[in-house]
């Protein structure tokens, strides 16, 4: 067992005893928290003995000393200005989480859309909260989910009522800015009512580089006939650990599109589990990861086709350089009688050095016969012929490589539906590939010159 485990246990116990009681929590969440804490102590942190965690080594980061930020509402003028970043040409409603606490006071939007702290939602909207809270995360398949359920500090709550198409994109920036290494548990909940639609942008950022452990659990409920677009951008410092569990439950005729772009991070693990619970549901789960130095990125996706006539599509692409490590673990489960399922899964990787490593596990588990399922996984390099062709046309090797990598990544970016986000991400990707985007910069969205278009140093006269 980890040497540090007792210290962490003390930390968690301390937080639980001091900050969680009848006043702060409703009976619903209190009982969940108590049960979950017991679950956590029974299960502990996931170790390499668990098949799904065989390659994600938490031991090193868990051996570090942590504190929990308990100061609610730590808002200063200075930090407020940091969040005034915008996606160019896109009108968003911006909210922020700082060190695990929801920061913005504005909570009601037009059309009855609610965005607020999950702690606030628990008090103000007890019916919604108790109906949905911990419905999917109660699957305690590992200790971190239990830990999150037990001692989450805060998180966001988004509710879109029935028949409302939320026009403006909601953007939530989850920032870590602390003077010591902190352990953050955030819990989010997104509910999209019937025949509604929502597009949500979630950014994981670091402002400080003392390191942090972010244990994030989100539950998404998409009711009949609704549409959810979820974009996640992760640009963390290299000492940061982010473990995300996203649970999505889709009712009939729903459509979700999730896209996770990982630019930088220390140890990042994104676990997405989608349950297609109603006929005619469709889920697109996509991701792009650009990994170098000592970074580690692990993407786990499970799509559960629980009923018939659903479709799903997974597309994950990655470029791994230097000593980076990337894991992809995709799982399509087609349950018995989930006939007429169409499920696709694709994972493509480019490995640039011998010290990098890529592990990909595309799993299919199928219990119905009238299905069309396929998966493909590749690990390869940049196409030598294409490189040669471009160099022969006067494009220098560096640019030629960049163009190839950029076009490789483009397939994921092309699926982004909102043009402004698409443009922004494609620009960030090109900057990342050029080595200009590092996590040490302040918030990625606050970049100096948002209007600049992507340029390559191509001498046109030679072409």
């Amino acid at each position: 067992m980890m040497e540090n485990y007792q210290n962490l246990k003390q930390l968690f116990d301390g937080f639980f005893n001091q900050h969680i009681n009848n006043e702060t929590d409703s009976p619903v969440s209190l009982s969940v928290r108590k049960g979950a804490l017991e679950d956590f102590y029974r299960m502990g942190f996931p170790t390499n003995k668990i098949e799904k965690w065989r390659k994600t080594k938490l031991k090193d980061v868990l051996d570090l000393p942590y504190t929990i930020n308990t100061i609610d509402r730590l808002r200063t003028q200075e930090q407020k200005s940091i969040f005034e970043c915008e996606i160019n040409n896109l009108d968003t409603d911006l909210f922020s989480l700082l060190n695990g606490w929801f920061e913005t006071s504005k909570t009601t939007l037009p059309q009855g859309v609610i965005v607020c702290s999950i702690r606030e939602a628990e008090k103000k909207y007890p019916e919604l909260f108790s109906k949905y809270f911990d419905r999917m995360a109660s699957d305690r398949s590992n200790g971190l989910i239990a830990l999150n359920s037990a001692i989450y500090s805060d998180g966001y709550f988004v509710y879109v009522p029935d028949n409302v198409a939320c026009e403006r994109t909601i953007q939530i920036v989850n920032v870590i800015n602390a003077t010591s290494r902190i352990f953050v548990n955030t819990r989010n909940m997104v509910i999209v009512g019937k025949n509604a639609s929502l597009s949500l942008v979630h950014c994981d950022d670091s402002l400080s580089s003392f390191g942090s452990f972010v244990n994030n659990v989100s539950e998404f409920f998409v009711d009949e006939g609704s549409q959810l677009d979820f974009y996640k951008m992760q640009n963390k410092d290299e000492k940061a650990t982010v473990i995300t569990h996203n649970f999505v439950e889709q009712q009939r005729d729903t459509n979700t599109h999730a896209n996770t772009i990982t630019f930088n991070g220390g140890l990042i693990r994104n676990d997405t589990r989608v349950k297609l619970a109603g006929q005619g549901a469709n889920a697109d789960v996509m991701g792009l990861y650009l990994v170098d130095r000592e970074q580690f990125v692990d993407n786990q996706v499970k799509i559960d086709h629980a009923v018939s006539d659903c479709t799903s599509n997974q597309l994950f692409k990655g470029i791994v350089d230097e000593n980076g490590r990337a894991i992809f673990n995709g799982h399509i489960l087609v349950q018995q009688d989930a006939q007429r399922t169409a499920a696709y899964q694709s994972n493509n990787n480019i490995q640039l050095t011998d010290t990098a490593s890529i592990d990909t596990h595309p799993f299919l588990e199928i219990y119905a016969d009238d299905v069309k399922c396929s998966h493909g996984a590749t690990v390869g390099q940049l196409d030598e012929d294409a490189l040669f062709y471009m160099m022969q046309r006067g494009i220098c090797e560096r640019n030629a490589r960049m163009l190839l990598m950029f076009s490789f990544a483009g397939q994921v970016i092309d699926h982004i539906k909102i043009p402004a986000i698409k443009h922004r991400i494609s620009e960030l990707v090109s900057r990342r590939l050029k080595g200009e985007l590092s996590a040490c910069e302040s918030c990625e969205l606050n970049c100096e010159n948002p209007d600049s278009v992507m340029t390559f140093e191509i001498d046109m006269s030679k072409i």
Binding site: L352, D359, H361, F363, A368, D369, H375, T378, V379
Partner: protein
């Protein structure tokens, strides 16, 4: 629909064709497993001290190990103390001709269509027939001896070529490898040994037929094939077993070593008793098969047609150590009724410019579960490594399962690894097309399944290809609606 249901019924209700018990007197020891049993087996086989030591080390290791549970299988708990670990047909005087062989045994072979006599004269296949652990008859030894090829039972090899056995035993599958591997290393009864000397191209297909005969007897085969520099051998293994109500355990090990420029082709048709329609009985088949491409330019090719056994747990693998070595795996696995199969391949690329191919075709019907589980591992120094994997699954019926669990781990920037898999059922369009051309449902499905598995069946040697096609036909023809 009713037509095809009827066909499905006919097929699924057809009894196991090769289910019969031959009454050969067998010499067995007490049920149970302990160090004394291991010593007894070793003593009965008059083994040298080092081999006994090897067995004991393996047994002690096995005692510390736990039964693996990672496979996608539901394995009823096995009482290892309720198994007889040694059974040998009672010794008769030295056999000079076929007439001296137990007539029952000859009869058994005749029923299986592998009459030694016929094989001997017509096909030119040397058969090392294994019935319940002890080789009874080895043919063509003389012919093979002319080339310096050693092809004999494992116990014979221990007596006559101890230096070879000692050198290679456990060099590919160490006794510490896995639970069933350790068990086999402790109690293996017999098996085949094959050595092809430098530069020799084996003039005939070598083959062994395994039979599990005496009731309550686990069979623990041990096969060791060594292909020296520049040699070539094609080895066939075919299996059928009589019908039993009690489950039988089979934990075999096959080790192959291919030296520089050598090539080994290993083909299997496995048709053990799969249990009845309610899932009672059937063989538990836990096999460790691994080949080591030791030298440069060596090649090991596995081809398997798996139609039998209640539970199959089997991953023929290649360790590609020599530069430019090649590993291949071709598999058709068919499961029906309550059968479960978790099978696939492991390709471990260590040397430069190593190449591997995996083609796996799974077919599941009834309430069976068929999983492909494979690993492709490219190590840091395996520059220029190349892998292509394809695993397709065909589902016949809505109560069966087809699963794919590939693991791809690469640590080299020049590696090119591709994996693709599809899962589907026979499309109505395909069926309609065939029927519209005048074929009945049964024939149409036979045609489609055969076409689906063709890529693998083509890899089999002639004799096996015919048997394999028959097996596919018996197991599946017409079992879809």
């Amino acid at each position: 629909m009713s037509d095809s249901n009827q066909i499905l019924d006919e097929v699924t209700q057809s009894d196991y064709k090769y289910g019969f018990v031959s009454n050969i007197e067998t010499e067995t020891i007490e049920k149970g497993l302990n160090e004394d049993v291991v010593r007894l087996i070793s003593m009965k086989k008059n083994e040298p001290e080092w081999l006994l030591e090897y067995r004991l080390k393996a047994f002690r290791k096995w005692q510390q190990m736990e039964m693996p549970d990672w496979a996608h299988l539901k394995i009823p708990s096995i009482d290892f103390q309720d198994i007889i670990y040694y059974a040998a047909p009672k010794k008769k005087e030295t056999l000079n001709s076929l007439e001296e062989v137990d007539p029952e045994l000859i009869d058994t072979f005749n029923k299986l269509g592998i009459s030694l006599e016929e094989q001997k004269r017509l096909t030119g296949v040397a058969v090392d027939a294994v019935i319940d652990s002890v080789s009874v008859k080895t043919t063509f030894t003389a012919t093979l001896a002319k080339y310096g090829i050693i092809f004999c039972s494992f116990s014979e090899a221990v007596q006559e070529h101890p230096e070879l056995v000692r050198k290679y035993l456990g060099s590919v599958v160490p006794y510490t490898d896995n639970y069933f591997g350790a068990l086999n290393s402790a109690v293996f009864s017999d098996g085949s040994f094959c050595y092809i000397p430098k530069g020799v191209r084996c003039p005939m297909e070598l083959s062994t037929y395994f039979r599990i005969n005496a009731a309550n007897t686990g069979q623990f085969e041990r096969t060791l094939i060594v292909a020296d520099e520049g040699s070539y051998v094609s080895y066939l293994e075919g299996c059928t077993a009589p019908q039993r109500d009690e489950n039988q355990l089979h934990a075999a090990i096959v080790e192959i070593i291919a030296h520089k420029d050598a090539e080994v082709k290993y083909s299997t048709v496995q048709n053990w008793y799969p249990g009845d329609k309610e899932g009672r009985g059937g063989i538990y088949n836990f096999v460790t098969k691994r080949g080591l491409c030791e030298g440069a330019n060596s090649k090991i090719s596995w081809t398997q047609v798996e139609t039998g056994s209640a539970i199959t747990w089997k991953y023929p693998s290649c360790v590609l150590k020599g530069d430019n070595s090649v590993g291949e795996f071709y598999s058709v696995a068919v499961t029906n009724n309550f059968q479960q199969a978790d099978t696939g391949s492991k390709m471990i690329h260590l040397g430069k410019n190593t190449r591997s191919t995996i083609v796996s075709k799974g077919i599941s019907a009834g309430r069976s579960h068929n999983s492909y589980r494979g690993q492709v591992k490219i190590n840091k120094n395996a520059t220029g490594a190349r892998n292509f994997s394809q695993c397709d699954s065909l589902l016949l019926g809505d109560r069966c399962g087809a699963h794919t669990f590939p693991y791809i781990d690469t640590k080299n920037a020049s590696a090119i690894v591709e994996h693709e898999a599809t899962t589907s059922r026979i499309s109505d369009d395909q069926l309609f097309y065939c029927q519209q051309r005048g074929l009945d449902t049964e024939k149409s499905i036979g045609l489609i399944v055969n076409g689906y598995a063709r890529e693998v069946l083509n890899q089999l040697p002639m004799e096996f290809a015919v048997e394999a096609q028959k097996l596919l036909a018996i197991s599946l023809e017409g079992s879809v609606g």
